[in-house]
Assembly symmetry: C2
Homo-oligomer: 435 residues x 2
Amino acid sequence: MSTESEPPKVQEEVDSSSQSISKKAAKKEAAKKAKEERRKEAEAAASAASALSIEEEGPLANNYGDVPLQELQSVNDPQTGKWSEAVNGREWTVVGALNGSLKDQEVLIRGRVHTTRPVGNKLAFVVVRERVSTVQCLATVKPDSVSKEMVRFVRSLSNESIVDVIGVVSVPDVEIKGATQQVEVQIKKLYCVSRAAKTPITIEDASRSEAEIEKASKEGVQLPRVNQDTRLNNRVIDIRTLANQGIFRIQSQVGNIFRQFLLSENFVEIHTPKLIAGSSEGGSAVFRLDYKGQSACLAQSPQLHKQMSICGDFGRVFETGPVFRAEDSYTHRHLCEFTGLDVEMEIKKHYSEVMDIVDRLFVTIFDGLNNVCKKELEAVAKQYPFEPLKYKPKTLRLTFEEGVQMLKDAGVEIDPLGDLNTESERKLGQLVLEK
Amino acid sequence: MSTESEPPKVQEEVDSSSQSISKKAAKKEAAKKAKEERRKEAEAAASAASALSIEEEGPLANNYGDVPLQELQSVNDPQTGKWSEAVNGREWTVVGALNGSLKDQEVLIRGRVHTTRPVGNKLAFVVVRERVSTVQCLATVKPDSVSKEMVRFVRSLSNESIVDVIGVVSVPDVEIKGATQQVEVQIKKLYCVSRAAKTPITIEDASRSEAEIEKASKEGVQLPRVNQDTRLNNRVIDIRTLANQGIFRIQSQVGNIFRQFLLSENFVEIHTPKLIAGSSEGGSAVFRLDYKGQSACLAQSPQLHKQMSICGDFGRVFETGPVFRAEDSYTHRHLCEFTGLDVEMEIKKHYSEVMDIVDRLFVTIFDGLNNVCKKELEAVAKQYPFEPLKYKPKTLRLTFEEGVQMLKDAGVEIDPLGDLNTESERKLGQLVLEK
């Protein structure tokens, strides 16, 4: 393709232009170069792989290989290549659904190469990962399906490459430690749909818990620790860890259960304006912007519009949406932008009606998560251990007075008429838990 | 309370201050005065009413009246007043649930006084409205429950006041035209929980369709038409119309069905940042703001973060959230801020997989609305008539070429390689409908 010895085209254009553009262009150029390098790296990896795959001729050569882009683009025609032919008419089984009930059945799965492990030149393990699930697959030389060259191909797969695996489900006698699914897939065919270049961090490293690192350290082994800044600089790779996959799926379910519960209680979901003319509460810490010549600011809360909805006879409303606070953050509870779950309702007789709703809402969310996010909670706990949440089907209610008294009895000095600070709140939570 | 002859306190403070504050203060003062006037008006109405209700002594006097604020605040004690005693231990039935199956049963309902209509001095009708439902209630003088004074009290209720009605459900032989529910409530007790001051627009006026106004006009009657600006200046009252109640409830359900369908197809709901460093698409029409000394802008689309999610192995994601476009609007399709329903998914083989999802998504939404929002759709159609949506369970798919050909056959000249403009799109839709 285009060579590095040619003078870069963008640079030429820039020379005849202003300085400020030149700076931008230089940046652009650098980005272009980096992109080009990545592309070349990927190409090199791909051609190395295809060099491997064309070593062999004969029927077994059809059972593996890189899928050319051209073949991926003409998928409705099974005649175009060995991958098209192999997957034609088949459905993909999700990795998370692989279990003993599928024993001896042939399945097609798609996922990322999580890790590969060769054992001699006749056997290779590859762990395939999809969302919060991983499964161990193995390629063993077999006269009718798997050649030595195919095992070599499997060993050559770079981590994070996307593969299609066709194989038979088997159930080993011993527990499988390196994967979430307690079955194995005996590979019959394996195609690499997209070969990954080397990633700046590996999912294995990014998935490690502090405890694992410390344990290894005591045994004299220094395992890599992926720090926050590296994670954020490589967000797209970091969110592939099982823990992050779990966190986002749990977040999605929190929103879902929140809404389902409220809708079942005759709430209406509203979407209130985020661009408003005044400030929604207080007024100091707002983000201000120019709205076509007028001053506007970002909503700190849907408060005003929620209340308008109630005055407008909606009865019960809720909103899930972004909230903007231009506050300097001194605690880890502060964020300039967060997703607010917000509720407003009319009361028939007493404010305890709101407490009833909130009480049942939280219990429903906790029950729901334990029910539908079991695997996700486990994935998070594996990397970031936490105690399971304890809660009652009917939440304990304390008056402020009773709470203050409990704190006093435990020796905590607080103002009986003031707000509870974070520390006192925590302490009170602990006291209630101990009861 | 404070009298008008006293010099206003705020004004005094202002005199000793700067000009710019004085302007603000004058505004504040005007707002204060207006508020004060509204308060007085409400007080006058309330005292006029309570003057009515105390005319009578004896057991029947307990069956109606204004509920004092003090009584509303001590609702867990049934001893505090006649309303507390009357509603104690009862549940409210929603107006929308009133139907023939409740014949002869005594119910408690709460709603707004939509209209009142006296018939002589022994009978009064009051239509009570809750959300998208209205029911006709009637107070007839009866020796054991309804006094003449009570009928007078019912007649005196101002529109939009909130009332609690206890009465017996009856089913009249003829159709009830002035209300959505085809039953009547024979009033036994009626309490005014909150008496409304005169509203700047009436719900009756704001609910009228263009057709009704024109029909009356032909008959020589000039009915009030509430214009857009008046509606927007009195938004809280305007959204009480059955049509607006319907629109917001339909909107809520669109979001709900959208999410339920996608979750059932293994999509994950995400919440992407709205404050971003660069522009998400193109780059001209963004709202820029100062983010603690750095330049930031409001997201024009969740595009980048949706794609990051896919690269990050989420597989299928969606978002419902605000989208900001600082574009000048030339068509009625433009809004600077709108709620986007956004979807992104990986494909296994072919882009037709996305078409399959979108196809089933829309059909599910249409089916769902027809199913759960029947009453809401009727409420909207009554004020803003529309043709029922025609759609097929499996959407027709045309190639671009076929579409262009259909337009050509119908005599529309268009560029076979260009985009379809709005007009051509409409025409094509019509051609497909006619087929």
